[in-house]
Amino acid sequence: MFAKQILKFIYMKKFLVLIMLFGFTNIFAQTDSLKSKGFQWKNLDFNASYYGETGWYPGIKVGAEYIIFEKQKEKVKTKRKKGEVKKIKKNQFIITGNLGYYWQAHNYSSAFINSAVLYRHTGNKGFQYNFGISPLGINTFFFNETYKISDDDELTKAFLSARAFYEPSLIMGLGHTMKKKRLKAWFLNMHIIGLIPYNSAVNALLALEFGFRFDINRFNK
């Protein structure tokens, strides 16, 4: 009975599962093409963050990101007191894969998975800003105590009542590099998220994220 309900749940959400698989395929496809140039571990970072829907519904998010393109500009300036000073600025394009979970006070908890493309600029002093788009994402609301009334008016207590949404989003944020042993940078992102379909149309969410990026290679040292 339990397995049957889970299968039914998965079957109902199958198109969203397909989108999810498509997302992963895309990420791995990118990775493959990078491999051909030589996959570089130094381009891979992980992150963990507090993720708050509307800011204050608490959640957590973990993700991985891989730099697919980087351009570094160097300028050398000669200053009277310091002599030659090198200034470095970086522009990067990054793909990310993320998983998260948050709790909306009284109504539901929510799990999401998404993939995004980010542009990140890092200034000479380590200040960063980024913009991005996540065309692939799924958000599933798991409702609290739910009772289902069927079309023939039968009432049952619903097990694992949930609704999934296609969830594209826009991301913008800022951060700063860190010189800690393992932490690479802190960041603060704002996500504007679409929920499609929602009732008879669409809806949107706002989420704030604060977290740290870490370099897995630094853990090995």
Partner: protein, 345 residues
């Protein structure tokens, strides 16, 4: 091993005790979801469930939120009864997937009856249920009564709309009456002269979606002036629980839902008229109206009261209220609702 056995036993006891009907001896604070015909709709239940008297609140709008009403005179009722704040289809934190054409008063009335079924399942079949609808909720509540009134001990309509087809013309008349009255009392003369001018233009142009919307906004704007001139109750003493607004619901979701469902149901303003069916409502009913309601005018309330088929019906006029007597005269509102419920349990 003993420890594991005791933990398992405790878990089993908790599991089986949770299958029994819920204990109503303590103050209720529950959130239930009703999954019905493509929608998941939350009902927030607060208050005193000891006597098994439940009052379901239908919010205004369309597109308002159930919890918007957890304030003033309605919240005070939680001391005596369990109050059920219901997010209707498309409103508040409700979710779902259905087409625009599926959002109708008839289906939304079925949703309310589905909620009734769930409440009886969870808290017991011997619940004594009352239904209160405000504004758009008054129209929806009327539709619930016309669908199945047998589920309820009583029906309370507060500044509701059973006859939106004639609302526009009724409002034009009432705006002029109130404006003349205020001008003769030397109250905000400049504003009321402007209102008269606007009303004249809107009256000449006739009812359209745009004009109806402008008239609706003018009704709410006018309450600000009526309150400033002490014509309406001051609403002082109402405790505002800020968590209702900033914690219990996702602000962006509820704001967008409100706009969407309001737009989906825009046709009701020119099509709905339940006047001729009101005589089939025979359960005890109370009609409550604010004298200075310029959103749904007083005469619509008198009309609803006159057409109701109930042998036990009550008319309550609020002399210092606009569209929301539960705020303008919240103490009187609470007392009248308690009086009505106690007389009809």
């Amino acid at each position: 091993m003993k420890k594991i056995t005791s933990i398992i036993s405790l878990a089993l006891v908790l599991l089986f005790s949770s299958c029994e009907k819920d204990d109503l001896s303590s103050t209720l604070s529950d959130v239930l979801y009703i999954k019905h015909k493509g929608a998941e709709m939350p009902a927030y239940i607060y208050g005193n469930g000891k006597e098994k008297i439940f009052l379901i609140i239908l919010n205004g709008g369309p597109g308002g939120k159930g919890l918007e009403y957890r304030i003033g005179g309605v919240k005070d009722l939680e001391e005596n009864y369990a109050v059920v704040y219901f997010d209707q289809r498309g409103s508040g934190m409700s979710t779902g997937n259905y087409s625009k054409s599926e959002i109708t008063p008839a289906l939304m009335a079925e949703d309310v009856l589905a909620l009734v079924k769930v409440l009886k399942y969870k808290y017991g079949n011997d619940l004594k249920l009352f239904l209160l609808g405000h504004s758009w909720g008054g129209l929806l509540g009327t539709k619930v009564m016309l669908t199945d009134q047998s589920q309820f001990k009583g029906w309370i309509e507060v500044d509701g709309g059973h006859n939106l087809k004639h609302l526009y013309n009724d409002l034009i008349v009432r705006f002029n009456e109130v404006a003349d009255g205020q001008i003769s009392e030397n109250h905000s003369i400049g504003y009321w002269n402007e209102v008269k001018e606007k009303i004249k233009n809107l009256g000449d142009e006739g009812c359209s979606d745009e004009n109806a919307s402008e008239l609706n906004q003018l009704g709410f704007d006018s309450e600000i002036y009526l309150r400033k001139d002490d014509v309406l109750g001051k609403q002082s003493g109402i405790s505002i629980d800020i968590t209702n607004y900033f914690y219990e619901e996702s602000l962006l979701i509820t704001a967008i839902s409100s706009v969407v469902v309001n737009n989906n149901l825009s046709y009701i303003w020119t099509e709905i008229d339940y006047t001729q069916e009101l005589n089939t409502i025979t359960i005890p009913s109370m009609v409550m109206w604010g004298k200075y309601d310029l959103v749904i005018p007083y005469n619509q309330g008198e009309d609803a009261y006159n057409h109701l088929g109930s042998s036990k019906k009550t008319w309550v006029s609020f002399e210092e209220s606009g569209h929301s007597p539960m705020m303008d005269e919240y103490e009187k509102f609470t007392n009248e609702v308690i009086k009505f419920i106690e007389a009809n349990i």
